[in-house]
């Protein structure tokens, strides 16, 4: 009885120990329809945002979103539309992080997905763009 139980436990233990190695090699699922449509929407919006990143009007935040960095870089008449662009972009980004986490069966990964993206956005940003480093804005 004990021997049998022990061997069952051993097998379970071995499986549990091997599982992380198997999943470590796997890629994250990012090819869901929801993720694709968010990507498309963000790609289209980037055409309008790019100039504002370059002018310093908009910067990349440490939580993987974007924010107004220098409102004076935008003519007063355009400020409202830039604010709307920022809000729309942040809506998509929040949805994207949430969607990636849940598409991989771990909704609780959302914050880690977000912080991974926060680093990669900055890494891939062009020189001259602004980003948040800790509490301060930094020009790349």
């Amino acid at each position: 009885m004990m021997k049998k139980l022990f061997s069952i436990l051993l097998i379970l233990l071995a499986t549990a120990l091997a599982a992380p190695f198997a999943s470590a090699a796997a890629d994250l699922e990012v090819n869901t329809p929801a993720i694709s449509s968010l990507k498309n929407s963000m790609q289209t919006r980037h055409g309008q945002l790019a100039a504002h990143y370059a002018s310093g009007a908009i910067g990349l935040t440490k939580d993987g979103l974007i924010a107004m960095h220098d409102a004076n870089a935008v003519p007063l008449a355009q400020r409202q539309s830039v604010n709307s662009l920022i809000a729309a972009e942040n809506g998509d980004r929040n949805a994207l992080y949430k969607e990636i986490a849940s598409a991989n069966g771990h909704p609780e990964w959302q914050d880690e997905v977000r912080s991974t993206f926060a680093q990669r956005w900055v890494q891939k940003a062009q020189n001259g763009w602004w980003y948040q480093d800790g509490g301060a804005w930094v020009k790349k």
Partner: protein
């Protein structure tokens, strides 16, 4: 009784292993993020474009 003494620690160990199993795959997430950012920002060339620019920038004196 004896069985329980043996099984209980084993259950504890097993549940710990299951906890380890749901760790966040940081490398895979980074790869996925890069792929998505390349598409959104349309950074088609695989070589990091900013690495070159940083080298060309003169050092601050």
């Amino acid at each position: 009784m004896k069985t329980w003494i043996a099984v209980f620690p084993a259950i504890l160990i097993l549940s710990a292993c299951v906890t380890i199993n749901i760790y966040f795959p940081a490398a895979a997430a980074e790869k996925a993020a890069d792929k998505i950012i390349d598409e959104v920002w349309q950074l088609k060339d695989k070589a990091t474009p900013d690495a070159k620019l940083i080298e060309e920038k003169p050092a601050t004196k």
